[in-house]
């Protein structure tokens, strides 16, 4: 593809329509599942347009149709007023559509520059393309705060910077319409703010931004208009200034949703878990958790706040029996072995610890296994699931799974469906069902609502609080400060493998916690 210089905007036919994209009557079915039903939407040029909906509402399918990954069964796509067909992503790029995926598509051991020109080289020899890309990247970074070192290797860049490379890739291909799929899922609050500044800058230059997200706050802060999808249909398109988070949430879920967590004051009792000088080294011998000490009482939720990667994961893994550790951990008065063969996930479960891991897809579930097989995961030795000394009772397991699915509202309630076929929120509910249904003395729960839609967030929060009110101890790790503030009875802030201090949610604010998360502020 010939890449003209950046100023060369979409030619001629362009400005006849005020809309950058119009979708008319788009429908798409996968087998018996109607992923998109008669979708109509018109996105004005030069605006940021939010598309919001629960997981599985059909947002990603719609964007995949727009980007040429799927073909709509029926309906019409208009770009700048002209009907187009988009059979593949090259056509989408030619139509001026660029996409930034949730999971980046970058070559890890290429430089930024090499990644940007990949697939858009001018000829067999790279030098001229590289030189041109370097110049264009320079212009872009000045114009939009999109600064990235063009010669850095992708693997050395932070997630936020990698995302900028994805945006640069799209802009280098002269995208006029930029689609971002859940762009902040992997970003720190600071990086997210920066991203939104970039997006606003792009809009002010006349680009059209489509922002797919399920975070209401981002929609309210960033977009001009917002469309709400529910179960494959477009239920509303409104001006952002004329709506509210509550109204959007209700449109998304189809019923009233409590955005605030309601809970009674804690009635804390005995100390359930006592941790002293817990330290964890990673496989390279680097100390990730540098001697933390705390107690959790019965009937109490202890929240651990912190930017991802400051030792919270190691804390969960050490307590969950996944990573060997040093220090002293006492559960219900008995010391737990922290190394050796008895320091494993099964022994911890037997001792009364349940663990909802941070990364449900790589730790908490086997994605290829059916839901019922995942319900046994970690509990496959449970006598309830055995037929006799030799055989497992798969029928009992399926029945138990069906019961758990009903209690924890997992949809669709089909025990034989593979875990990967559920939406993120329902996968999480499956893990939560498995772990909480054991009525553990201590629940370790990491990022309970990451990638989970609003309806499910409300549900999972209620479950956590119900467990607390039943007199159990909960250790909550989350990078979402809102979540920490609203659920926790006490908050510990972690930075660089250490605890920076303890606060009561009622007596602190996001700013203070944010400072502590950045390593500032004393105990």
């Amino acid at each position: 593809m010939a890449a003209a210089d950046l100023g060369g905007r979409q030619a001629t036919a362009a400005l006849t329509s005020p809309y950058a994209i119009e979708l008319k009557g788009i429908s798409k079915a996968f087998g018996s599942v109607q992923a998109n039903k008669d979708i109509n939407i018109a996105i004005p040029r030069g605006t940021i347009h939010g598309i919001i909906g629960e997981n599985g509402a059909g947002k990603s399918t719609l964007m995949s149709i727009l980007y040429g990954f799927y073909r709509a069964d029926s309906g019409q796509i208009l770009v700048n007023g002209a009907p187009v067909t988009i059979p593949d992503s090259q056509s989408a790029i030619r139509a001026g559509i660029g996409m930034v995926f949730q999971h980046f598509k970058l070559v890890q051991n290429f430089t930024v520059l090499e990644n940007v020109i990949l697939g858009a080289e001018d000829g067999p020899m790279l030098n001229s393309s590289l030189a041109k890309a370097r110049k264009i990247l320079g212009d872009l970074s000045r114009e939009y705060e999109l600064d990235v070192d063009p010669d850095a290797l992708i693997e050395n860049l932070s997630v936020g910077h990698q995302q900028r490379v994805e945006i640069l890739k799209a802009l280098y291909r002269q995208a006029e319409i930029l689609i971002l799929d859940e762009p902040t899922g992997v970003l720190t609050p600071d990086e997210a703010d920066h991203l939104f500044r970039i997006l606003r800058g792009l809009r002010d230059q006349g680009k059209t931004i489509v922002l797919i997200t399920h975070k209401l706050r981002e929609i309210m802060e960033t977009t001009d208009n917002v469309s709400v999808m529910r179960r494959g249909t477009m239920v509303a398109t409104v001006k952002t200034t004329e709506t509210s988070p509550e109204a959007l949430a209700e449109l998304m879920v189809g019923r009233k949703v409590l955005l605030e967590v309601v809970k009674n004051p804690a009635k804390s009792g005995e100390i359930i878990l006592s941790v002293k000088d817990l330290a964890v080294k990673d496989e390279h011998g680097v100390t990730r958790l540098k001697g933390v000490s705390f107690d959790i009482r019965a009937g109490e939720i202890l929240g651990i706040a912190g930017v991802a990667g400051n030792g919270q994961s190691e804390l969960l893994e050490a307590l969950g029996g996944i990573a060997p550790a040093s220090g002293v951990v006492v559960l219900n008065g008995a010391e737990l072995p922290l190394t050796g063969p008895r320091a494993n996930g099964k022994a911890r479960r037997d001792a009364g610890i349940a663990h909802v891991p941070e990364d449900r897809q790589s730790l908490g579930l086997i994605m290829d296994f059916a839901a019922w097989e995942n319900v046994a995961f970690g509990y496959h030795d449970d006598p309830r699931y055995q037929k006799n000394a030799w055989l497992m009772d798969n029928d009992a397991l399926r029945a138990d799974t069906a019961a758990k699915m009903a209690t924890y509202d997992v949809r669709p309630p089909i025990p034989t469906l593979a875990a990967k076929s559920f939406s993120g929120g329902n996968q999480q509910k499956l893990v939560v069902a498995r772990e909480m249904d054991r009525n553990p003395d201590l629940l370790l729960i990491g990022q309970p609502t990451r990638g989970v839609d609003i309806g499910a967030i409300e549900f999972i929060h209620k479950q956590i609080i119900a467990l607390r009110d039943a007199g159990k101890a909960v250790l909550l790790v989350s990078v979402e400060l809102d979540e920490i503030m609203s659920l926790s009875d006490r908050v510990l802030v972690m930075f660089d493998g250490q605890i920076m201090g303890e606060r009561l949610p009622a007596q602190t604010n996001e700013r203070e916690l944010g400072m502590m998360m950045a390593g500032m502020g004393a105990k």
């Binding site: 079915a29 996968f30 087998g31 069964d73 969950g320 029996g321 996944i322 063969p341 494993n344 996930g345 099964k346 022994a347 911890r348 479960r349 663990h355 891991p357 790589s362 730790l363 908490g364 579930l365 086997i366 994605m367 290829d368 296994f369 097989e373 046994a376 995961f377 970690g378 496959h380 030795d381 055995q386 030799w390 055989l391 497992m392 798969n394």
Partner: protein
């Protein structure tokens, strides 16, 4: 990609792949100036056309079932036991030592003891690579191949210097005692009738004692043990805690650790089972057919076993069917070499094409079918 209906996924896809392999094979035959139709008829006749032919086809299939199952068990634990031939050879050694140890009073006792020996030796040969993988992370793909060569050298040494009876010229053990002879198909009363020999006049041929004569075939009772092994492996993988842990570990080692599944334990157990199954193949070829231990007794069966596991989608039923198919190709290919001008090497070409289409290119067929079903679903 559109998900295919189950019947298309497990039935139609392999059928189309096989047809494609057959078409390309036909092209190769045409290119070397042979008639594909003649080749096909010779193959079908030679492998399936008579009880005699079946006797060979099922003999080969028996070996392939064991090797296919061995590959599959390791595969479900995420391990590629590529050097199982060494384990099969050691299994043969185990069989020979057991068979030669005693003048066995009855074949059933000898068979049980020999199975034990075969499984033990095969498992033992898999144990060291397994331990190195589990403890030190040495890739099993490399160590099992190294152990295959060690096994070959060990066997030659033992055959030449230890097991060879005095005065025998070839490097092989003594013949097994008569008590260790397991019944071949023509010796099994229910099947016997199928193998009766008839003279040109259509009357049964009788031996000197006036008893009917039977065709000798190498297929033997091990075939039924192989079927039982299929069932047991299926039960083990999908209905026991161990199988659950093996499959979970094979899908994700990290997640298995979260669940409290010990990687060391699973790697060891899965490889021991895999090695034992590999060793059990020797019951078929060493005890059931050769009735003595020779060099390279397991030759070739291993790599076909990998193809069988691949084509059988790592499921015991699929493995059984794929093993019979490869038994057909093996025996039919041999018939080609005997009865036509087509070189026997063509058998390898056909096998290679079957592996290529059913294994490597199977996704291609799946994609095309997926597009077809998607279109059908849309209209």
């Amino acid at each position: 990609m559109t998900k295919l209906p189950t019947w298309a996924d497990v039935g139609l896809v392999p059928l189309i792949s096989l047809t494609l392999a057959a078409l390309v094979s036909a092209g190769v035959l045409l290119a070397i100036g042979q008639s594909p139709m003649q080749a096909l008829s010779v193959m079908v006749n030679g492998a399936l056309g008579s009880s005699y032919a079946w006797g060979y086809t099922l003999y080969y299939a028996t070996s392939f079932i064991f090797t296919g199952l061995a590959v599959t068990v390791a595969f479900h634990a995420g391990l590629f036991n590529i050097g199982g031939e060494g384990q099969a050879q050691l299994g043969g050694l185990g069989v020979a030592l057991v068979c030669l140890a005693l003048p066995w009073p009855h074949w059933t006792i000898a068979l049980v003891a020999a199975m034990f020996g075969a499984a033990l030796f095969g498992a033992a040969w898999a144990a060291i690579p397994a331990y190195l993988q589990a403890k030190r992370g040495s890739p099993i793909v490399i160590t099992t191949i190294m152990f295959k060569y060690i096994a070959a050298a060990l066997l030659i040494y033992l055959l030449v210097n230890v097991l060879r009876p005095d005065g025998q010229m070839d490097p092989a053990s003594a013949n097994f005692p008569a008590g260790a002879h397991v019944p071949q198909f023509q010796e099994i009363p229910i099947l016997q009738g199928l193998f009766q020999r008839f003279g040109a006049d259509g009357l049964p041929r009788l031996n000197a004692e006036g008893l009917p004569m039977y065709q000798q075939v190498p297929a033997n009772v091990t075939f039924f043990i192989a079927i039982a092994a299929c069932v047991l492996v299926w039960v083990m993988l999908w209905h026991t805690r161990l199988g659950y842990a093996i499959r979970a570990f094979g899908k994700s080692e990290k997640a298995a650790v979260y669940a409290g599944i010990s990687p060391l334990r699973i790697i060891m157990i899965a490889m021991l089972i895999s090695g034992a199954l590999a060793g059990l193949m020797a019951i078929n070829n060493v005890m059931g057919q050769a009735e003595r231990l020779v060099q390279n007794s397991a030759s070739g069966a291993w790599f076909i076993g990998i193809a069988v596991a691949l084509m059988g989608r790592n499921h015991p039923l699929g493995i059984f069917l794929a093993a019979v198919l490869f038994g057909f190709l093996f025996q039919g290919g041999a018939a080609l070499g005997l009865e036509t001008d087509i070189p026997i090497e063509l058998r390898t070409v056909v096998q290679g094409l079957v592996i290529l289409f059913t294994g490597a290119l199977d996704q291609m067929v799946r994609m095309l079918l997926g597009a077809f079903f998607a279109k059908k679903g849309a209209t």
